[in-house]
C-alpha cells in the first residue's frame, strides 16, 4: 500500500469522525461527554483484552483438537482455528467483557 492510499484512507476516517462529532453535538449532545484521551485509553484496554481472549481461544482450541485426535479416531485439522469468526468473536468477547467490567 502506497503512502497516497494510506493518506486517502486516513482522510476518510478523519472526515467521518469529524462529521459524527459535529452531528452528535448538533443533534443529540451527550449530557456528560468524556475526553478523547479517555476514549483512546478504552481502545487500548479493549485491544489488550482482545489479545488475551484471542490467545486463550486459540490455545484452548488447539488443546481440544489435539485431545480429540489422541482420544478418538476422528481427525480434526488444526487449520479449523484459522477462521475469521475466531477474530470477530474474540473482539466481541473483549468488548462485552470490558463494558461489563467498567460498569461493575
Amino acid at each position: 500500500m502506497g503512502l497516497t492510499e494510506l493518506i486517502f484512507i486516513a482522510a476518510l476516517v478523519g472526515a467521518t469522525t469529524l462529521a459524527a462529532f459535529a452531528a452528535t453535538k448538533a443533534l443529540s449532545p451527550p449530557a456528560a461527554a468524556g475526553s478523547i484521551l479517555q476514549a483512546l485509553r478504552a481502545l487500548l484496554d479493549w485491544a489488550g483484552m482482545f489479545a488475551i481472549f484471542l490467545a486463550a481461544n486459540l490455545m484452548l482450541g488447539a488443546a481440544v483438537i489435539l485431545m480429540i485426535r489422541a482420544l478418538t479416531p476422528r481427525f480434526v485439522a488444526l487449520y479449523t482455528l484459522e477462521n475469521l469468526l475466531m477474530l470477530i468473536l474474540s473482539a466481541a468477547q473483549a468488548f462485552v467483557f470490558q463494558a461489563w467490567w467498567r460498569c461493575e
Binding site: D45, G48, M49, A77
Partner: protein, 209 residues
C-alpha cells in the same frame, strides 16, 4: 489503577503497535523472506510431489491448492521428472472427488499422461503425506523428488520428507513474503508465519522432525 489493569493496557499498546507495524510496514515481509524457503537451481528428479492444500465443498480447489497444482504441472511440462504425485484427501462428507482427484483431472486436461500421475488421497497431515508418499515411491526406486508447496510451509515439509528418507529439492509455488503489499495480505502473511512457527514447534516436540 490496579496492577492487572495496567498490564491489560500495556498489552493493548503492544497489540496496537504490532498491528500497525505488521499492516503498514514491510517488517512482516522481511520476516517472511527469512522464514520462507526459496527454490534453488532445480535438477531433474524421479518424481514431482505436490502437497495438498484443501478443496472446497463444491469440489473446487482452494487458491493455494490450485497454485501448487499449477506449479507441479509446469515442472512436469518442463520434463523435470517422469512422475507427478498429486496429494489431497477427500472431504469428510465424501460427496465430491478428493483434492488429488480434482488435481488429476486438471493435470490430464493440461496434457499430462494419466500413466504419469500418482494420487495420494488418504494423508491428512504433512507428516502423513511424507510417510505415505515415501512408501509409494520407494518400490519404484524414486527417491529424488521435487517438493511443491508454498514457501512458508516448505521449511516443515522439507524436514519431514527428508526424515522419511527422500532426497528433496524445494520447488516453491509462490513468493508470498514479497508479494504481500496490502495491509490485509501482510496480516495474513503474519498469521501464516505464526501458524507455521507453532506447527514447527509441535512437530519438533512430537519428534516428527
Amino acid at each position: 489503577m490496579r496492577v492487572w489493569e495496567r498490564i491489560i493496557r500495556c498489552l493493548g499498546i503492544v497489540t496496537v503497535a504490532v498491528f500497525i507495524i505488521i499492516a503498514l510496514t514491510p517488517a512482516g515481509n522481511a520476516v517472511g523472506r527469512r522464514f520462507g524457503v526459496a527454490s534453488g537451481q532445480l535438477k531433474r528428479a524421479d518424481a514431482i510431489v505436490v502437497l495438498g492444500a484443501g478443496v472446497m465443498p463444491n469440489g473446487v480447489l482452494s487458491e493455494q491448492s490450485m497454485r501448487r497444482a499449477i506449479a507441479g504441472i509446469a515442472l512436469f511440462r518442463r520434463d523435470m521428472a517422469p512422475l507427478i504425485v498429486l496429494s489431497g484427501p477427500g472431504r469428510p462428507d465424501g460427496v465430491n472427488p478428493s483434492e488429488a482427484g480434482v488435481r488429476a483431472k486438471l493435470a490430464i486436461a493440461m496434457g499430462i499422461p494419466p500413466g504419469s500421475i500418482l494420487m495420494e488421497e488418504t494423508a491428512k497431515t504433512t507428516r502423513e503425506e511424507a510417510i505415505h508418499i515415501a512408501n509409494t515411491l520407494r518400490p519404484r526406486d524414486a527417491t529424488r523428488v521435487l517438493l511443491v508447496t508454498d514457501s512458508l510451509h516448505m521449511r516443515r515439509a522439507l524436514r519431514v520428507f527428508e526424515r522419511s528418507g527422500l532426497h528433496v529439492q524445494p520447488a516453491v509455488s509462490d513468493d508470498y513474503a514479497s508479494s504481500a503489499v496490502s495491509p490485509g495480505d501482510r496480516l495474513w502473511l503474519a498469521m501464516r508465519i505464526c501458524q507455521e512457527s507453532a506447527a514447527l514447534v509441535y512437530y519438533k516436540i512430537a519428534g516428527y522432525i
